[in-house]
Symmetry: none
Subunit: 219 residues, 2 copies
């Protein structure tokens, strides 16, 4: 029976989606796109990869239904198809975190040296923001900040943090966040702030997760 029954045909389609997620560069593109729509050129610059290569990966994701594209002048802007794409990314990350010895090794080796940096959850941060007890800094580059950030957050790109320490208000606590749970910049920011005597922590998640949770975003 070389006939393909509908069930198998469906599995093939599901596999197409999973395959489109099965590449580190494409996952990185997804994380970038989670910040907002981007042109091919901008993404290529972020990943430091050839434009043609990024374009091909984006097209592969478009064929799988992960992203959509729209021409704007001479640019083509890609964006995530919807939040379910981030959901799939997140659930894959959960599997990897739970079952990949390699992930544990990497995480312990790189992140856990600083795991006294207990992260602040979205909910806790939202509550403390309301009470005005916290200064929130967004350590992402200005272009990403411009496309959306936590209400009241101030943008201090990591590279400028050290020069701008004196600008920071001395509220009881400073919370730094960036692109997502694995984004290194917020770790480095907190490390630097603590070095200079600030009471600093990082938010557990990044802006995409904050937005997906239905919390307010400022533009």
């Amino acid at each position: 029976m070389s006939i393909r029954n509908p069930k198998q045909a469906l599995y093939e389609q599901f596999a197409v989606v999973a395959k489109a997620l099965g590449n580190p560069q494409r996952l990185e593109l997804i994380e970038q796109l989670a910040q907002g729509p981007r042109s091919v050129e901008a993404l290529a610059a972020k990943l430091a990869r050839p434009v043609a290569n990024v374009s091909q990966h984006l097209q592969a994701m478009r064929r799988a239904g992960l992203v959509t594209s729209e021409r704007d002048g001479k640019f083509v802007n890609y964006r995530l198809a919807d939040e379910s794409v981030l959901g799939a990314f997140a659930s894959i990350r959960v599997v990897a975190e739970r079952h990949s010895a390699e992930v544990e090794r990497i995480v312990r080796g790189y992140f856990d040296r600083r795991d006294d940096m207990e992260p602040v959850s979205r909910e806790e941060l939202a509550a403390r923001m309301k009470d005005g007890l916290v200064t929130v800094i967004d350590v992402r580059p200005p272009d990403e900040f411009a496309l959306g950030h936590l209400p009241g957050a101030i943008n201090v790109p990591l590279g400028q943090l050290e020069q701008r320490l004196s600008d920071l208000e001395a509220k009881p606590e400073i919370v730094a966040y960036c692109r997502g749970p694995w984004c290194v910049m917020s770790f480095e920011a907190v490390a630097l702030l603590r070095e200079h005597g600030f009471n600093a922590r990082r938010m557990e998640d990044g802006l995409p997760e904050w937005r997906d949770a239905g919390l307010a975003v400022e533009a």
Copy 2:
């Protein structure tokens, strides 16, 4: 990509997991394993694939952390690593359902065909039986079958149908019947057969009506 920062290393690990999900056969194995632990042999039988092939897919999934295996006598039982694997499967399915035109096409085609499960009338069936164009299956329990059935019909109780699919002759069409026009079993039988790629319909009436119409009955 010769230097690999920890972030990229993590993306690579996430990609390993997604890649392991990016194959229709492995997705089907996951669905089977969702029912409970299974041996390689049992899975190979279910998927109707060579044992060595299934074994390799299972090992690929084990390397990615999706499943675990445990020896039990001469069998090796595989099981899902945990429920997060099903979560990943589900979230991929959601993406596919929302964004794949192909999935929509398959689903619509499949259900439409189910809806128009046009029954075969007694007269039409009798004619097609004479021409040898049709395999007739009686999905009632064996005791009822023994008391009388359509000439040439084979008895395949509904519960055994899935295991005995390979026994079925590949005539142009299969017609299932049971106790009467309101007997659910023939509906289910036809649905199952179509799922597996057979061209199947149900007879409008059951055996009593057939007999009452004066048509031949075998005992």
